[in-house]
Amino acid sequence: MARYSAFSIFRNALSGQKSWQRAWRAAEPKPSYDVIVIGGGGHGLATAFYLAENHGIRNVAVIEKGYVGGGNVGRNTTVIRSNYLLDGNTQFYEFSMKLWEGMSRALNFNVMFSQRGQLVTAHSADQLDGFSHRANIMRLNGIDADILDREEVRRLVPYLDFSDTARFPIHGAIFQGRAGTARHDAVAWGYARAADGHGVDIIQNCEVTGFVRDGERIVGVETTKGRIGAGKVGLAVAGHTSILGAKAGLELPIESHVLQAFVTEPLKPLVDHVVAYGADHFYVSQSDKGGLVFGGNLDGYNSYAQRGNLGVVREVAEAAIALMPCISRIRLLRHWGGVMDMTPDASPIICPTAIDGLYLNGGWCYGGFKATPASGWCFAHTIATGKPHPLIAAYGLDRFRTGRTLDEAGVGPSAWLQ
């Protein structure tokens, strides 16, 4: 794998930019691998990379139904933060944040990680108290967090509605300066290229249709490109976790829901941070091209259609204008949907399963993008050693049986209410 550098750009300029290599090989499946990771999204590719990088397991294949970057890793709103409240989540997402901070260097690929800061507005004294609780927990875990009063918020983001007629007046905000965004396609491409550089086969346009068993143990997968043997199989298929889980015989506490995201026509620089609305479900950042990228609530009923309904478009637009009246005349350029694997407690599931040889990584709800590097790191550890990484000890599937749920959303087992 040729390294990318300023010098390589210069050298390739001399030959008219015609001698660049493919970022990764177009691999065809071998008869068998030590590990097969199903799902060529951010989590699956990161898992393959860390299997090779951290554990020396290089006889690995990533099998992707479509193309790399075509699923949720290319459909999210690119927000990265580590402002989680509950023990287990707090430490895991901060570990992820630290991996983000070194990612471009580690992958030799510019993922355009931009630590522009994220704030969530508070609209009552009580809500600000709740945010102070969260900020204190973050600080106790060594994570940066600040509580801002109304005037500090106004200085930072003067374009929000600070008028006397605001439906939910802004009392203050919680702010994490190290939070930000990254170019999500670059994350998928960077991990794919770096994993390929370690010898991992990335097999696209290859759907897994079933599992091969030897007794109780899973020893391979059936695919549209034939049977492929595997020492271990890792599942990282986001919204389709229930479908593939069912093929393996797992009944899971997961519902698949559609989440929509939106981008407006390009504007001059306006939104310098990631801003989330504390009175409703709406969050926004501005892309390098100038479009406002934002999202809101789930559509609210089980769906595998990667498109959403117009009622939610209206609700999100209402929240947007309540927070930022100045964008009421901006036109939407595009909106799209992704299929989210929603768990009952809004926390992910990464663990070995009851089926020998099968490892599960799913249930990311709509917070999977920020977890990409830590998820890959910990899942690779779990597959390599057969035991959960300490950072994901709380993410076992058995937590629903034992009552140790991590109810970060606080809505109980109704995925569509998150």
Partner: protein, 88 residues
């Protein structure tokens, strides 16, 4: 927007309804001591890509709970019935 043919009120937009999730789950008997049955009732969901039997309540209408059969891949609704008379 989904259009749900309420057996009481006729075709209505889905935002008149409240979603109630997988209609295939059955509540164990109140004195059932088996934790596995309660785990399945509270948490485990079918979540198929295809025909899904699901509860909807017509909250801005007749307030009846309905069982709707809908394809989760394309949202085509094949049947709607009152939940109280529908077979689980």
């Amino acid at each position: 927007m989904l259009r749900i043919e309420c057996p009481c009120c006729g075709p209505r937009d889905h935002d008149e309804f409240r979603y109630g999730g997988d209609a295939s789950v059955t509540r164990p008997a109140h004195d059932d001591p088996d934790p596995e049955a309660w785990y399945a009732y509270v948490y485990v969901r079918k979540n198929p890509a295809g025909l899904h039997r699901e509860f909807w309540q017509h909250v801005i209408g007749c307030r009846q709970w309905l069982v709707v059969e809908r394809d989760t891949r394309n949202h085509v609704i094949s049947s709607v019935a009152f939940a109280r008379t529908s077979q689980a």
